[in-house]
């Protein structure tokens, strides 16, 4: 398993039986492939579906059935379709137990930036503002650094924010990091990665726990 796949597999373990979960566009949607088939969980997508089943190859796809990232998905027994107003009523009223989102930057105070790099790439937030502001628990999945090696975990975000102070946990290719009142706390390390490497790739103080740091 490469580092990215391990991150996805580890993030999948954040989902526990009975949850209602929204998986953001990009890396988070890959989590589906690591959920046990018999796991009782309700996956929501903001374009209007609960009960997302497996992603289908093009030949088997229904042209009217996608997730918010554009992947062709399938229904499972008990799935439901609804319009965008209902979809976001579900989000804003607190029915989501967990959302996993992508990030450009995450700060040690839980701020998230993932919709705008001024003048370069401003795709817009889609549903991310509501997901980040209203899901009961917000976790982020991201590479620890950007393509140029710059840290994405920072003391403060420099880009326009998606939401303030809402990120609780970050899954990266190097580590699992929690956001606490004291700042970033290292919880787990990817196989073959040292504490020093994670610290050096983090743009803020990284607090080490007193206990052993598990591997994933």
């Amino acid at each position: 398993m490469d580092a990215r796949t391990r991150m996805v597999a580890r993030a999948a373990r954040e989902i526990t039986p009975g949850m209602v979960v929204n998986l953001g566009i990009g890396l988070p949607t890959k989590v589906v492939d690591f959920l046990p088939e018999d796991m009782p969980v309700c996956l929501h997508t903001e374009n209007g579906m609960t009960g997302i089943g497996p992603t289908l190859p093009d030949e088997e796809a229904d042209r009217n059935l996608i997730d918010a990232g554009g992947a062709y998905v399938s229904p499972i027994p008990g799935s439901a379709y609804f319009d965008s107003t209902v979809s976001f009523a579900l989000v804003r009223s607190g029915r989501l137990d967990l959302t996993l989102l992508g990030a450009f930057e995450v700060a040690e105070n839980g701020d998230l930036a993932n919709w705008k790099i001024p003048g370069k790439f401003s795709p817009g937030a889609g549903g991310a503002i509501e997901l980040a502001q209203k899901a009961r628990r917000v976790a982020v999945m991201t590479t620890h650094t950007d393509r140029k090696g710059n840290p994405k975990l920072l003391s403060r975000c420099t880009l326009p924010l998606t939401a303030r102070g809402r990120v609780a946990r970050i899954f990266t290719d190097l580590a699992v990091v929690d956001v606490t009142l004291e700042g970033f706390v290292l919880r787990e390390l990817a196989d073959g990665v040292s504490v020093k490497e994670v610290s050096e790739a983090t743009g803020a103080k990284l607090i080490l726990p007193d206990t052993d740091i598990p591997r994933f």
Binding site: G70, S84, G127, E130, K134, R164
Partner: protein, 230 residues
């Protein structure tokens, strides 16, 4: 008694859209996008349009044709990430873009269709999206005033319809269509299947025909509606 027939040809229905119109366009990605109405709007060439759509489709698809054709002055949307042309036009200043949180865009449209003036919400507070917006205090909370969005025209894609304009949708092709179908002065729905009056059971109607002005039966489902092979 008998319900009125609102079916009309594609060109006659789209010809009712004037230059300068604000146009709601259904769809989230491919599903629910009224590709045929959009192509006809490109062919007829109405100008200075303000479009409201969840996303900008992808390059070479849907509203991208109108952007590339210079017919759009402003786009109110939530996400452009899949259309590099739209991002380039925005960055060059050739297209004015107003970003909106996705559910708030839906709810502003719903309010517009429900005869309301605005909604109050905490979504987007303390972000750039709150800049310049009115803030009120209620129950000790600061809330943004998000004005209702009602348009001149709505372009809707339905799976099934009858000539009165009763509409039903398929799977995730609902998305913004039901709210938009209630929120414009001229609502034009294209439909994959046109049943005779009574052909849609009252139980399955999702948008009552009283909201809809014209119904256009699609003579074919073009490739644009198909599965996108990436």
């Amino acid at each position: 008694m008998k319900l009125p027939d609102k079916s009309l040809s594609l060109d006659a229905a789209v010809a009712r859209i004037p230059d300068g119109a604000t146009v709601l366009v259904g769809g989230f990605g491919v599903p629910g996008t009224p590709f045929t109405l959009l192509r006809e709007l490109m062919r007829q060439g109405q100008k200075d349009l303000t479009l409201v759509k969840n996303d900008a489709n992808e390059a070479g698809m849907g509203i991208d044709h109108l952007l590339a054709n210079g017919q759009v002055k402003k786009l109110i949307t939530t996400h452009l990430g899949l259309n590099a042309n739209a991002i380039a036009m925005m960055n060059d200043g050739r297209l004015e873009v107003e970003f909106c949180a996705q559910g708030i865009l839906a709810e502003r449209i719903r309010a517009g269709g429900a005869g309301l003036s605005a909604i109050l919400t905490d979504i987007g507070l303390e972000t750039e999206l709150a800049e310049g917006k009115q803030i009120v205090e209620m129950d000790g909370k600061r809330l943004l005033v998000e004005p209702a969005l009602r348009a001149d025209v709505a372009l809707i894609h339905a799976d099934r319809a009858d000539p009165f304009g009763n509409l039903a949708y398929a799977a995730t092709a609902r998305n913004f269509n039901p709210a938009m179908a209630m929120a414009a002065d001229l609502v034009i729905a294209e439909t994959e299947r046109l049943a005779p009056l009574g052909g849609l059971s009252p139980e399955e109607v999702e948008t009552p025909g009283a909201f809809v002005d014209q119904v256009v039966r699609l003579s074919e489902i073009s490739e644009e509606y198909g599965v996108v092979r990436r």
